[in-house]
């Protein structure tokens, strides 16, 4: 019986842009158990609802996480809109959809880069981030911020996108699609990349359901769950298929995310073609929210919940967020068991961890 050793992983670690701590129990080179401890980025921002009114909370909700910032703001706004029974203008719905897909593009590209860095492929890392800059440029052009867009308001969006900008956004999205082809080819067909990804971090279909995985992690285990299909914002009018893979391993997760990038380009194209011409992009909310609502939406990392409860005053009673990485932590611990020690950074990356979201 080999002796067990405990190796601490994190909170400060070269592959992690954010702090998370894992206690890895090793037998020789094999991980037999992993005990995650979180809380390094816990800010307690949900409690800010007591101090800030429901309009100001949009800014706080956007800062849950800098990567999917737009979708956090939108999730909160949609939840409050449902409570207040506001039907936002159609154009605003389409604008939200376009920005959502741009966030997805930049988030997935960021992750692909970090993954390439995780297995030591620096050139691929740089290439992914080079493509990502074009996406950020479009976000900056239309909203004014590279990461924190701050265009969502309860009742719609603050800024409109002019027809010229829409044309440019479409061109950039199509260009991203073109430039992605060789990158996708390297990720999916390169011998060295495949030897690193195939068969690592296996999560079977049954385990994925039992452990409550979400997002690309769930879809890579062959389960077609995508909350965009529930038709929030303008997704109901857009034609797309849920991408799944039956590989159940790291390769499957890369495959799903790469196909989603191409899908996002297609959704942006469709949304820009279908966007209705109108001046109206915002309805000013009247009164204060009273009642409760649970909003679910599909973030780049998976399904996120936004629960709001209003009591009729300008401050909400409760705001609760459950983010995708939290759901994926249990599957992560499961995939780590039995993995070689050298694979740990890679496996941590394959769930696309966003610790800021998880701990809020």
């Amino acid at each position: 019986m080999p002796k067990k050793t405990v190796i601490p992983f994190g909170p400060q670690h070269p592959v992690l842009p954010e702090p998370i701590h894992l206690d890895l129990v090793l037998e020789d080179e094999t991980v037999v158990d992993a005990i995650p401890s979180i809380g390094f980025i816990h800010r307690g921002l949900e409690s800010l609802v007591e101090k800030k009114d429901f309009n100001e909370m949009v800014y706080v909700a956007e800062r849950i996480c800098g990567i999917c910032s737009f979708m956090h703001g939108m999730g909160y706004c949609e939840a409050v809109e449902h409570v207040m029974d506001i039907d936002i203008p159609d154009r605003a719905k389409y604008l939200r959809t376009i920005w959502c897909e741009f966030s997805r593009l930049h988030s997935h590209l960021l992750w692909l880069g970090l993954l390439a860095d995780g297995f030591g492929f620096e050139a691929l890392f740089n290439e992914c981030w080079r493509i990502r800059e074009q996406v950020l440029d479009m976000v900056e052009m239309t909203t004014g911020g590279r990461l924190i867009a701050s265009v969502n308001r309860v009742g719609g969006v603050l800024k409109d996108i002019t027809p010229d900008m829409l044309k440019q956004m479409k061109a950039v999205a199509e260009n991203v699609g073109r430039e992605l082809v060789p990158v996708a080819d390297t990720f999916l067909n390169d011998y060295s990349v495949k030897s690193r990804l195939c068969g690592s971090g296996i999560l079977s279909k049954e385990d994925a359901i039992a452990l409550g995985a979400c997002g690309p992690m769930m879809r890579a285990s062959g389960i077609a769950v995508d909350h965009r299909k529930s038709g929030y914002a303008a997704y109901g009018n857009i034609d797309f298929d849920v991408i799944t893979s039956n590989d159940c391993d790291g390769y499957g997760r890369v495959y799903v995310r790469i196909q989603e990038l191409f899908q996002s380009v297609e959704i942006v194209r469709q949304a820009i073609d279908k966007i209705p011409d109108s001046e109206e992009i915002m309805i000013k909310p009247k009164g204060n929210p009273k009642g409760e609502y649970l909003m679910r939406l599909e973030q780049p990392r998976g399904e996120a919940f936004y629960y709001v409860k209003g009591n009729g005053s300008k401050n909400l009673d409760r705001f609760r967020v459950r983010t995708p990485t939290f759901g994926n932590l249990a599957p992560l611990v499961h995939t780590l068991k039995g993995a070689p020690f050298a694979d740990v950074p890679l496996l941590v990356l394959t769930i696309d961890p966003c610790v800021s979201c998880t701990e809020r």
Binding site: F40, H42, L45, R63, R130, I148, C354, C357
Partner: protein, 151 residues
């Protein structure tokens, strides 16, 4: 010691930020901004680092980690607080768990504002940190604690 001035190594740590500034710090090393052409390298080891970029408002659990990393960086060192949260606590200032600014935990030399701080301003902050680094180094030499330049 010229080599330090020409090639400062940078350590980045997320002390309870929203991730936005962290991504921008990483974006600095990417082809668009490419700070590596100035010799700035993003390292993961505190013992190799010269400049410490901290983002976020530091919470109770993270404070000892930040302190520990700071202690591990060899002298001379420059601390750059990246982003509004790292400067003052920002939007999270009123949160129960946030100490409010990196300077509550470790001494900070350069403050880079912005939410999220733009790569240009982060690079500007790091360049300012270089001058300070030289100053600190010269002071150490004067006190007989470091090697003079060229040795």
């Amino acid at each position: 010691m010229k080599s330090f001035h020409k090639s400062p190594w940078l350590l980045h740590y997320d002390a309870s930020s929203c991730n936005g500034c962290d991504i921008e710090v990483l974006a600095c090393t990417m082809p668009r901004y490419d700070v590596e052409r100035f010799g700035i390298i993003n390292t993961g080891n505190p013992m190799h680092a010269d400049i410490f970029c901290v983002t976020g408002g530091v919470n109770e659990q993270n404070a000892p980690v930040v302190k520990q990393i700071y202690d591990q960086i060899p002298e001379p060192k420059v601390v750059v607080a990246v982003g509004t949260c790292a400067c003052t606590g920002g939007v999270f200032k009123e949160c129960y768990n946030i100490l409010g600014g990196v300077d509550k935990v470790i001494p900070v030399d350069i403050y880079v504002p912005g939410c999220a701080a733009r790569p240009e301003s982060i690079i500007d902050g790091v360049v300012k940190a270089l001058a300070l680094y030289q100053e600190k180094h010269d002071k150490m030499v004067k006190e007989g604690r470091g090697l003079p330049e060229g040795e």
